[in-house]
């Protein structure tokens, strides 16, 4: 563990953030799988990342890189909850006058670090960010990819480069909802481990458990956190596989 800066504790209310997501999606029901990414993003911005909505361009801010840009509703909701932009922006996503699209554009949205949508760009960009920040800033780079997104060969290149360059300031969160059509024999984490990453498998049943995994960092190697979002807690606290 090398995190020396005090961790944030904003205590974003999970229910309120879900309501904000619903304002984007128009979805009154709270579909568990749709909110698996939300848990990761909410916990990151609640308990892990050092970011300040009043200084979104602070050079020492932590970077959250949403590579899997085709599901930005949760990120938009969390950024709005943290005050990066007004909540009413969530009400007309992808309209002509909206800065928020179905894929995010970093030049339009405060707090959004990359424009994404085409799969396989976020992890290579995050590797470059980590190289640029290393030895110059205490900032961490946390990139979120999907298990199906890992199909893109650009990710394999980036996983290899990050391992060879021992990027201790880089974390890759893989949201594993088993959406990859061909699967990952031996598991997703093995793809990172063989390239020298430290890996953690976690699920979304506990915010504290998720936060602990996302805070983990080692100085001499990048970190992969594989989040199994098919195991969810029910209202009674029982774990089921979705």
């Amino acid at each position: 563990m090398t995190t020396t800066r005090l961790g944030p504790a904003h205590r974003l209310d999970a229910g309120r953030v879900r309501d904000l997501v619903a304002r984007v999606t128009g979805d009154e029901k709270h579909d568990p799988s749709a909110h698996s990414t939300l848990d990761v993003v909410r916990v990151l911005y609640d308990q892990v990342l050092h970011v300040d909505p009043d200084a979104p361009d602070d050079p020492d801010r932590d970077r959250f890189v949403l590579s899997k840009g085709h599901g930005p509703a949760s990120t938009y909701a969390v950024l709005a909850a943290r005050g990066f932009f007004p909540e009413y922006w969530l009400d007309d996503v992808a309209s002509w006058d909206s800065a928020l699209g179905h894929h995010p554009d970093r030049t339009l949205v405060p707090g959004v670090e990359i424009g994404s949508g085409s799969l396989g760009h976020g992890l290579p960009l995050a590797v470059g960010m980590a190289l640029g920040l290393r030895v110059r800033s205490p900032a961490r780079v946390v990139v979120l990819v999907g298990d199906a997104e890992l199909d893109e060969g650009s990710n394999a290149e980036a996983i290899q480069v990050a391992g060879r360059f021992a990027l201790g300031n880089l974390t890759c969160v893989v949201v594993d909802n088993r959406s990859d059509g061909h699967g990952w024999p031996g598991g997703v984490a093995a793809r990172f481990a063989v390239e020298g990453w430290t890996t953690t498998d976690v699920d979304t049943r506990s915010d504290d458990g998720l936060a602990a995994a996302l805070r983990r960092a080692e100085p001499d190697r990048p970190t992969a956190v594989v989040v199994d979002t098919t195991r969810v807690a029910t209202a009674t606290g029982r774990t089921v596989t979705a």
């Binding site: 050079p59 970077r63 554009d105 970093r106 030049t107 670090e113 990359i114 424009g115 085409s118 396989g120 760009h121 992890l123 290579p124 960009l125 995050a126 590797v127 470059g128 960010m129 980590a130 190289l131 640029g132 920040l133 290393r134 030895v135 110059r136 800033s137 060969g153 650009s154 290149e157 980036a158 290899q160 480069v161 060879r164 360059f165």
Partner: protein
């Protein structure tokens, strides 16, 4: 084609001059980094030692190379990215579009190989479409230097800027350097007859200049030069082309690459324009030398002359030779 050491700097080829410039550039610009995909890493080993952490070789991973450059730029760095043209532009083309352009960040991409420097290597190492592809993306500047001194001048200027830049190095070069200010410069004038329309204009891009000068030595045409075909200096071209232009554009890459820009520049006047470049309809499945390829593509002295001659009015009983004067540039 190689000159007798008329350049102000060391008389190196463009590629070697690029490598030699990086060390002082890294000293002068603390935000500059170099991103490689093996090509150039051996030549830059000492530069890498002198600037720890600032020369990054990602291995033979060109998608990661551009992605890393984009990420560096997102943290305020100024990446110089370098490999063979097909692997810098064509293989990671979507990365140019998304990891650089869509992120609204800059980089200096420096390619070698040009259209057919690697004639003996075959099609895989040839990229005549590179400039057309880069120019199809918003916000790029394309420099095609014609001399190693121009390479140095372009690099020094662009290192201090923030934009997206493609610098196309070539084994073909002119004998002497020309300006690199992005403008179109008249290199050779020809006297008009009394009351006559201006003589046809030949715009040579980068290393095509000496070929164009040789090809037109006894033709009544004016010759202009630019090392920056994109964005094209439309104002300068209009001024030189005159009210009823007869123009040839000679480019060392895909024929007609600059056609849209030239057409837009001359849209307000009746113009006759010939575009000379690497033909786009046939893959040349031959090896040999770059000179062999230039000849096959009509980009040698004889080929360029044949195309430019079509712009020269035939006058019965008069010499085709006008009064020419070389201009200091």
């Amino acid at each position: 084609m190689r000159g007798p050491g008329t350049s102000a700097g060391p008389d190196l080829d463009m590629r070697t001059r690029f490598y030699a410039e990086l060390d002082p550039l890294l000293d002068a610009h603390p935000d500059l980094d170099v991103v490689l995909a093996v090509i150039g890493a051996a030549q830059l080993a000492r530069v890498a030692d002198r600037h720890p952490g600032r020369v990054v070789d990602v291995g033979i991973r060109e998608q990661a190379m551009i992605g890393v450059a984009g990420g560096l730029a997102l943290t305020g760095r100024r990446p110089v990215v370098h490999t063979y043209a097909p692997f810098l532009v064509e293989r990671p083309y979507e990365q140019l579009k998304i990891s650089l352009g869509h992120q609204d960040v800059g980089a200096i991409l420096v390619s070698i190989g040009a259209s057919f420097d690697a004639s003996a290597a075959g099609r895989t190492h040839q990229a005549p479409a590179d400039v057309a592809l880069v120019a199809a993306l918003p916000g790029w500047t394309v420099h095609v230097p014609g001399h190693p001194d121009e390479v140095a001048a372009i690099l020094r200027a662009e290192a201090g800027r923030t934009g997206r830049v493609y610098v196309r190095l070539s084994g073909q070069r002119n004998e002497r350097p020309r300006p690199t200010d992005g403008r179109v410069h008249l290199v050779r004038d020809v006297a008009d007859g009394p009351g006559a329309a201006p003589a046809p204009l030949v715009l040579a891009v980068g290393p095509m200049l000496d070929t164009v000068l040789a090809a037109t030595a006894d033709l009544p045409v004016r010759v202009a030069y630019t090392a920056t075909p994109h964005p094209l200096d439309a104002v300068g071209l209009r001024r030189l082309a005159g009210p009823t232009p007869a123009l040839a554009v000679v480019e060392p890459y895909l024929e007609g690459t600059s056609a849209a820009a030239v057409a837009a520049a001359l849209a307000d006047r009746p113009a006759r324009v010939v575009h000379v470049g690497v033909p786009r309809d046939v893959e040349l499945r031959r090896y040999g030398s770059p000179d062999d390829h230039a000849a096959a593509h009509g980009l040698d002295v004889a080929g360029v002359r044949r195309r430019v001659e079509t712009l020269v009015p035939r006058r019965v009983g008069s010499s085709s030779s006008g009064r020419q004067s070389e201009l200091p540039t």
